[in-house]
Amino acid sequence: MTGGVLGLVTVFVLAVFVGFEVISKVPSILHTPLMSGTNAVHGIILVGSIIILAGANSTTQQVLGTAAVFLATLNVIGGFAVTDRMLEMFKPKKKQ
């Protein structure tokens, strides 16, 4: 069991460094879209929500799991769609 935790902690620590490195330089015009984009990425909790609901065997768990899947789906859909709309504005305008 301890080996398992250590593996997860290793992944966690490496991911912290990747997270810091990957966005080292961001122009301020992209701050809001980047915030929205990272917001979409943590929608990955949808995977966790599905895992919980797929294994739920009591009413309480079903209620909690269903609510979690619903909220997480909102997070994913809304996150990516809002980011995309923000980024649409960066497309060069066509000359009339």
Partner: protein, 463 residues
């Protein structure tokens, strides 16, 4: 065996997609591609979750997914450009809520079975952080949506109360670890929700993007905690990525406003106010600037031939689009030629200004894009800058080594006179001083953009 390896390979693939997505989002050229890649990784991860797993409650899963899609797509597509920040807050909050629910559900499943201590710690951490993110984001949403006031809500002893609630959460967390009782966990979740509310109440509307970014990284950490609870590496990687990059982004955003994160979060307690005499809090420079009365500036505007209005974030914050239109009308009736210069990123949100001014019925042909308007500044009598700063900062053009060097700007410094309507001497979003303020042809009028504009309207009418 091979199936489960397949699932893990797919999760690895999704994790790589997310990393490349964030990387892509740091440059305008690759941003859309990055977002698309992130969405693709998400679809792969979700689909693979159904593989090699005994799935119960498939009906509930499908219904919940469908409801999320049906509510989420219209909410994201139909919302106005100006309402984007609060949508980010809302979608962030639900993610935090989902993470907390996942942890609570898993906890309730294992209460009576021996579960490793570190899983319990992850549950407690995930529930606390997820709940704070959920309720904090809702308050941020309500403030930006103007359902509740956007001004800081403070009361005497607030800091002490918040600290007390914080301590209570930690104590309850310790109790949950000792008793492993679900009701205790529920009480702890409730107090954490309360803390999220209390923590965002004293923060003002203009600082909200920073707070949302902070809550965004909170949700990332809550998701990572869920990854520990469920023994799922993808959740840990994606959640931690967001937690780390979100923390960095939060710092960049508050630095860009020329303030420390602590000042943004707790500033309202100290009541950082700027006096109208022009000595500011930020910047740390005490060089003299020229400020004038609304009466003087109104006269200057009324007797100009040509005025170009440069709107920025301050206009959006003050909701002054109608007042600026009023001023333009008053000037037009005096025979002054009016144009609006729209910088592509004015207002921190691309397209912000176009939407706002269109709402106030400003004629579309008066909205000039940067390349079109810049040659006109040398023949302009007055450039009236309303709540903009970085987008007119000549450092972007002239000062190599400046953080905004190379960013295209509106050349207001080439106009004969420049008037800035500003709330304070605080630097703009990029957090750098603007040399232009100290230029002798520049006049500043301090105050809320809407107040200043309506004073100018009456000054122009009486001129």
């Amino acid at each position: 065996m091979s199936l489960s390896t397949g699932v893990n390979v797919a999760y690895l693939f999704a994790a790589v997609c997310f990393i490349l997505a964030l990387k892509g989002l740091t440059s305008p050229k690759t941003a859309r591609y990055g977002n698309g890649l992130g969405a693709f990784g998400m679809v792969v991860a979700v689909v693979m979750t159904f593989v090699n797993r005994h799935v119960e409650n498939l009906d509930l899963i499908v219904i919940a997914l469908a409801c999320g899609v049906v509510v989420g797509i219209p909410a994201a597509r139909m919302v106005k450009m100006t309402a984007m920040p609060q949508m980010v807050a809302a979608f962030n909050g639900v993610g935090g809520g989902a993470a907390a629910l996942v942890d609570i559900a898993d906890f309730s499943k294992h209460t009576h079975v021996g579960v490793a201590e570190w899983v319990q710690v992850a549950v407690v951490f995930g529930v606390i952080v997820g709940c704070i993110s959920f309720s904090g984001s809702i308050i941020a949403f309500l403030k930006l949506q103007e359902v509740m006031t956007g001004t800081p809500i403070t009361y005497k002893g607030q800091q002490a109360v918040n600290a007390l609630v914080g301590v209570a959460i930690l104590a309850l967390g310790g109790m949950v670890l000792a008793t492993t009782s679900s009701p205790d966990l529920a009480i702890m979740a409730g107090v954490a929700l309360l803390f999220g509310v209390a923590f965002v109440l004293p923060i003002g509307g203009a600082d909200m993007p920073v707070v949302i970014s902070l809550l965004n990284s909170f949700t990332g950490l809550a998701v990572a905690a869920s990854g520990f609870v469920l023994n799922n590496v993808l959740l840990i990687v994606a959640g931690t990525l967001v937690g780390a990059s979100g923390t960095l982004l939060t710092r960049m955003m508050s630095q860009a406003m020329g303030r420390s994160l602590a000042n943004v979060l707790f500033g309202a307690f100290g009541k950082v106010q700027v006096s109208s005499t022009g000595t500011g809090t930020g910047g740390g420079e005490d060089r003299p600037v020229r400020s004038a009365s609304a009466q003087d500036i109104g006269t200057m505007l009324a007797y100009a031939q040509k005025v170009i209005i440069v709107p920025g974030y301050g206009l959006a914050v003050a909701q002054a689009q109608h007042t600026v239109k009023e001023l333009a009308d008053a000037l037009t009736s005096k025979g002054v030629e009016i144009d609006y210069a729209i910088h592509p990123v004015a207002g921190r949100m691309p397209g912000h200004m176009n939407v706002l001014l269109a709402e106030a019925d400003v004629p579309y042909d008066q909205l000039k894009e940067m390349d079109e308007i810049n040659p006109e500044f040398p023949s302009t009598d007055v450039a009236l800058v309303v709540g903009a700063n970085d987008v007119v900062n000549p450092a972007a053009r002239d000062m190599q080594g400046s953080p905004i060097y190379g960013m295209p700007i509106l050349d207001v410094d080439r106009a004969h006179q420049v008037v800035f309507l500003k709330r304070s001497m605080r630097p703009g979003f990029a957090g750098i001083d603007n040399e232009l303020f100290y230029d002798p042809k520049v006049t500043l009028l301090f105050g809320d953009a809407k107040d200043s504009l309506s004073k100018l309207v009456s000054a122009v009418k009486s001129a």
